[in-house]
Structure formats: C-alpha cells, structure tokens
Assembly symmetry: C2
Homo-oligomer: 332 residues x 2
Amino acid sequence: MQMTRRNLLTGAAAIGATAIAPATGFLPARAAAPPLGAQAPGFYRYKVGSFECTSINDGARTFPMPDTFVKNVPKEQALAAAEAAYMPKGMVTVPFNPQLINTGSKLVLIDCGNGVATFEPSKGAVGRTLHNLAAAGVDPKSIDVVLMSHLHPDHTNGIRAADGSMAFPNAEIMVPAMDWAFWMSDENAAKAESNPMMKNYFAGVKKIYAGIEGKVTKYDWGKEVVPGINSVATPGHTPGHTAFVIASGSSKILIQSDVTNIPELFLRNPDWHVAFDIDPVMAQETRHKFYDMAAAEKAMVVGFHFTFPSIGHVEKDGAKYRLIPVAWNPVI
Amino acid sequence: MQMTRRNLLTGAAAIGATAIAPATGFLPARAAAPPLGAQAPGFYRYKVGSFECTSINDGARTFPMPDTFVKNVPKEQALAAAEAAYMPKGMVTVPFNPQLINTGSKLVLIDCGNGVATFEPSKGAVGRTLHNLAAAGVDPKSIDVVLMSHLHPDHTNGIRAADGSMAFPNAEIMVPAMDWAFWMSDENAAKAESNPMMKNYFAGVKKIYAGIEGKVTKYDWGKEVVPGINSVATPGHTPGHTAFVIASGSSKILIQSDVTNIPELFLRNPDWHVAFDIDPVMAQETRHKFYDMAAAEKAMVVGFHFTFPSIGHVEKDGAKYRLIPVAWNPVI
C-alpha cells in the first residue's frame, strides 16, 4: 500500500475488517507458542574505571497524579508534562533504582528500594531489588555496605526482608548523619503531626530502624565514605540528602540520588517543586547547581528515579535540562 | 564538602591523592566479592493488544566513523552529532534489534540480526539474537515465520546458525518481493561490481540464501503478511524496504525497520543520507512522511537501530525529530 496518513491511522481498523488471508499456505503442525509473561530481569552492568557497577531496578509505580504532586504549578501543567513524556493520561510513573558498586574490596548497595511490603506488593511492580539482585547473581549476604542517600521509605525500607529480618545480614548500614538526626528527633516528629505524609515518614523511619539503631553508622558530607565513594552535600529534598561521586582511575560517575525526582517533570522544569521535597527552595537551588556542573562536565549521572537502567548525560536546554539516556551496552 | 564546580571536576583526583581513610572500622572477614562480568540478557517484553512482543538485542557495534558514513554532510558535522549523543570520540555506535511477535497463533521473528559469523564475533558484541532468544525462554524451533524487512546482512544473516544450518528450522522465511528481485538480479549485481560495499551485499544475499531459494516466500506491500502484521511500503533504504504495522484490538505499534538508521544522527537530521541507503533521496522522503505521521499519531515506534529496548515515541522539533525512549516496564 502507499504510505499515507490515512493508512497508518486506520491500519488497525482496516486489518480488522478484512477477512484474514495469510500470504502463504504455511500451517504449522505444532501448537501455537504460549505467551511467556515474565519481563526481563531488571539489572544493567557498567564499569567506572575498575569498579563493576550494576543498576538494580526496584520497579516502577504508576499512579493517578496527586493534586499536589507538583506544589508550585497548577495540576494541569504537571499533567501536560507527564503526557508529553507519554505517561498514561492522568497518571505519573515513578521508577526506583538502587545501585550496586563493587570496588574490588567492598560490595556496596546505594539505597535499597521500597522493600517487599510497600505499595501493593501483589502487583509486583515495586520491591523488586532482592529479586533483581538474585537475577544479577548477587547474594545479599555478600553485600558489605548499604549506603543510604537519605531516609525516605523508597530508599531505605528495602533493608528488611518480607519477614522483617535484615535483607543484607552482613552489611554495615551507613546513613547521612544529618538525615538521621532529623528523622530521629521527637521534636521534629511532633511538629509534623499535622502533615499526614510527613507523619507517616517519621513513623516509617523509626519502625524500619527499630532495634538496629546502635548498629547504624552515620556519615558526613565531603567524606570518602567507602574507598572510591565520596559523599556530596545536596540538601533540600531532605536535610541530609546526599549524592555520591564514584571514582576509579580517571573515570567517575555521579549518583544524584533525588536531586531531581522524575526527570520528565523536574529536570525539564527544574524550578518545579515535587511534593516530597522538605525544603523545596533549597532543593531547587541544589538542582540547578548540580546540573549546571554535570552538564558542563558532560558527566555520567545516575538517578534513582530515572527510568531503568537509570543512567544518562544531562544537557542544558535554555532554562531547562534534558536527560539523554545511556546507550545499552550488550557486553561490559 | 560544599558542592562546587571544582569539587565535582577534581573529585577523582582529590580522592586519589588522599590517603584512604574509611569512615568506619568495619572490616569483613570474608573475601571481596568477585566481579560478575556478564551483562543482563538483552530482551524486553511489551504487549500490543493481546500480542506478546519481545525486543531481542542482537548487540551493538562501535567503530571508527567511516568518512562517508553520512554522504551529504562533512564528516566533522556527523562526528559532532555523534559526540553530542555521547558516543565515544571519533566513533559511531549502531545497535541491532530484531522483534519477536507472538500473535497467539503465530510466533514471528521480524529480522534476525547479524548472525554469529559476522563482525568480529570474538568480541561477542553482535550476533547475539540466538543467545538472547534463549535468555527470553524462546526455542528457535518454535518460531513459525521469519519476516525480513529487507535483505541487508545485519537483518538477514542471522537465519543461519554458526554451522550454516537454518537457525529457525521450522520457520517460513518471508522476504519483500521487490528486495528479492533486486538482490537476486545478476544484472544489478554486475552494475554494482565497482562499489565494494554493494558488491559485498549482493554476494552476501546469494550466499545466505544458497540452497533455500525455493523455500522463500515473497510478500508484497500493503498486505497482511501474517494475521495482525501488515507490510508498509517504505522504499529508499533498499528498493523493497518494508516497515510493519502490528495491530491487535485497538492497539498498534509501528516497526520502522531502517526508515532511519541511528536516530541520534538521522532522526535528529532527517535530511542526512546514511551510507547504506540505495536511493537516499527517496529514503529521505520516506523518512519525513513516516515520521510526520508517527509524530502526529503519537504512535509507538520500534527501530532496528534504536538503542535497546529500541522502542519509543517520536516528536517533531522544528525540522528535526526527537526520539523519546519508552519507560522500562518492570512487569508486563
């Protein structure tokens, strides 16, 4: 057929209306192949110098966009941005991606996902970190350090398995000192009583760390928290929110954590305030600083809320930024 | 540390120069985890109505950009576009992605990759279709139809296994009638004697189809070649180059085949002529027509040479187009 607008537009309908007349007489003797159902495992390997890194997909959550998902623009504007990124109408999709870094001497998991007991586990769309670590051939017992960027539930709840036991039993748990102080403060929790989301977050941190408070290591910004992994102050999203520079030889990568939430909304519109930012004005300032640098350096950036494999470069586009996802490497 | 430009820029060097002083005294008794090396399997499942589709990565090839990779612009301009897409300096990366479509009654492989004997197989970066089909749980014997978009080696050579036997022994092989006539013509082959690339292509088609010429089914444009799969005339790249509309229920997807080669160069610059186009002016015209439609319809498009998983939407950007890769779906 000639390729005309009408043909492509009405292709499906025309096909449906036509009696099916295969071009050939081929008829297999065997039964039709059954559908296989399962998605490919959600892990992706990349090298940073001599370090072997693995992006681990904890899943993605698609939900009706809350009225205040973006606090400082009308909802229609936020919905239009989601739709321009081909998200389902009225919905927003938020992915989650912890990073596994094997420095050769330490196996470090940066953030650990929603945990299996969060967000409609029956759907299986989140809490997939243990599943995808297994697919990647990684024994949770072999993880030496779990390094938290901040203490929001989608980053920290995965430290516990479904039965409440420690998911990474041999791992030291490292948390940003400033986030620990903030979330463990009874005074701060009392102030948050009137805000259901914040109240929930405070209770969640207490619950997930109950009984292991003494075993947690607090780290500061500007430190080499693990050899080759440096903590970078990126406050605003939470008081202790931390990004990381992973460096080996002459290579490095920036783990941005939640400097931006989903890039389709908040990198395209860096002045928009996501509902989860505790100090949105500071977060906005951090976002501009971080991405002006990352763009100027042409740095590789990993985002916890970028679509899997969650790695890319960022370019400036006037007052906006654009994420250019990395090309899939079939071998490493 | 404060996040300053200097900090991010010199992070690696600074880290290297500092004596390593981990923030904690944690020392595991066990050995360091070994690197695991292998990349994740390159397959990705998606639904089109009731059809279960799987993008199968045949690999990607990174090579020094030939002088005439883009025939109608200076090489520096082509290199600049590659570099703007973060390809390695001086190089170009071309991925390859056949599509497996299970219509419920037929299991159809659209194009079949480079084959195991092409392009430095020792590197393992291409010819991965059988490997990734296996990872996806698909027995090559269960494939009913291999549907070729055109007869270039990266699309067609995978019909043979390493030992020369048929890789999909029970499959009918369907080829575009016009491409078959073009590539099988001794007169055309004689005319191409002076062009090493074309000479090689003519010889390749004869070799790969040797002994099975009579078993090949030729199909025309504008036909439902397999129930739910319609052939669309998209000539220029080759005389019989074909795209497909996959349609099930009210859903559809466009398999663009090689309407554009790598989108980073030829969708951003739709008037550029890739070295492999036989009639580049017609290919350019086809490209504009196809993408004006795809963008207007907000259609999902699959590109053989898009980075894995090779699915996205296309938007107009002035006289250019931009590919918005699909968000990775952790479940289907």
